[in-house]
Symmetry: C2
Subunit: 83 residues, 2 copies
């Protein structure tokens, strides 16, 4: 079973209010050594046969990421890494 | 700079309508060899000093994941892997 993971994150220059909200909540947990939190999406695509990175990139481009504000990375993962 | 990534995914037995919607759209792109798409969250936590996995696990437990329906994995990443 072949799995491709697409990680979609906001571009560094785009504000991430959701991540900021988590970062702001950390001192209440006693965590003071975190400088930033960014929240993005992780998409797991399971291929019937061989994992196809070019296909996955096309899917990411057209369906998963907004290229105006987001960057994405595509990679094949071993089954063990899948959450 | 030390970065910890938390991957939060719905548990396998929980339906993922968002991923299903993407999977249903794939044939329109000419993609027919994908058996499933699951969409989760990827959170990048940047620590000032050393990455602290136990701290990150605590943050994930309390702020990032809903343990009733989600699983998470915590890992330190090299700068190169950061999207």
């Amino acid at each position: 079973m072949a799995r491709v993971v697409v990680d979609v994150m906001l571009k560094p220059e785009i504000l991430d209010p959701q991540g900021q909200a988590v970062a702001n909540a950390l001192p209440r947990l006693g965590v003071t050594d975190v400088s930033s939190v960014r929240i993005g999406r992780r998409i797991e695509i399971e291929f019937d046969g061989e994992p196809d990175l070019d296909r996955a990139r096309e899917i990411a481009d057209k369906l998963l990421a907004n290229p105006v504000i987001e960057d994405y990375q595509v990679r094949v993962v071993a089954a063990a890494e899948v959450a």
